[in-house]
Symmetry: C2
Subunit: 197 residues, 2 copies
């Protein structure tokens, strides 16, 4: 009933994050109804991005140049190195405009269940970068999940041999958060890490 | 910080239904990580579909051929014409395999607020098709929403001049539905339209 080309398109769209067969059908129709304004530009943008985007050999960020525009920027603070799990975390931190050092993208977290060890991530490369004399502080900015915190502990153990200060993001009540909606873990951490006003 | 090509891609992805800036970023990363298996095939599928998919001049369905494969199928029941709001509704009904007649896609519902009148939809074309001598029944399969039902009433008024039986989908408790979760409107309709067991 549906043409093969539409079915093929729906199948591919359903593999996008957050999409299933039903939402992919909706997206396919939306695209076909906005052919010139969205569908063709998207096809082109996908093709171009697939061609020009490369992984940065230094920090494992994605950019059109290698090293990426952050690593190639001499004006940043060489003494700080921020470890993130994924490129989306790098983007999120970069958007704040607060951090002016360099990044290192791990590409995931350690997971005994999924058989992901330090060699599967860019951990050896990270330890090598942390040994560089100009690096004074390594900021572990991993998710406050079990996997993230396990990885953070493993990394801070590894980094003890390097001559750097290892820090991690503060944990507590998020800005705008309401105390009666917070889980026990967050409130316990926030209480324990309380600060003088 | 993010390359222009990625930003452009994210901007286009954020215009897909159900996507916002954040989910579009996640989708862009997912695509870049699955470049050969998903990103390039999707770019190609979008381009091909944009080229070959056309609107059926008879029922306003989308297909690679005009008239579409449903309208071109001589084996279907010419006496039945099913009116749907959108192509996705046509796909949903066609998937049941129960309906063997032909379709007519309105392309929306009447809406005084949005200024959508009968001429903006394919209503004149529908009335013309309903006048054809072989058509005996017009099934109005519009959404059970206010806009859908307003349009259904308008259409059944218009169709009174044509020599056809006008029917609409049954309304009631959906299969698998739990009575204590149903809204008042559904239960009222289900009670009023009760059937002998």
């Amino acid at each position: 009933m549906i043409g093969t080309e539409i079915e093929h398109l729906i199948k591919l769209l359903s593999r996008l994050p957050g999409y299933g067969p039903r939402s992919a059908r909706r997206a396919a129709l939306h695209l076909l109804k906005n052919r010139e304004s969205l569908m063709r530009p998207l096809a082109q943008a996908l093709g171009i991005a697939a061609d020009v985007i490369v992984e940065c050999p230094q920090c494992h960020n994605l950019d059109t140049c290698a090293p990426c525009s952050i690593c190639a920027n001499d004006g940043r603070d060489v003494s700080q190195l921020c470890i993130v799990e994924d490129i989306s975390d790098l983007w999120a931190i970069e958007k704040t405009g607060v951090f002016k050092g360099y990044y290192h993208v791990l590409g995931g977290t350690l997971s005994a269940l999924d058989g992901i060890g330090p060699e599967d991530l860019s951990v050896p490369h990270l330890l090598q970068r942390a040994q560089e004399p100009q690096v004074k502080e390594v900021i572990v900015a991993l998710n406050a999940t079990i996997d993230g915190q396990t990885t953070a502990h493993y990394l801070s153990d590894c980094l003890q041999s390097a001559n750097v200060a290892t820090t991690q993001l503060a944990h507590g009540v998020p800005i705008g958060g309401q105390i009666d909606y917070m889980d026990d873990g967050t409130l316990t951490t926030a209480l324990k890490s309380r600060k003088a006003v």
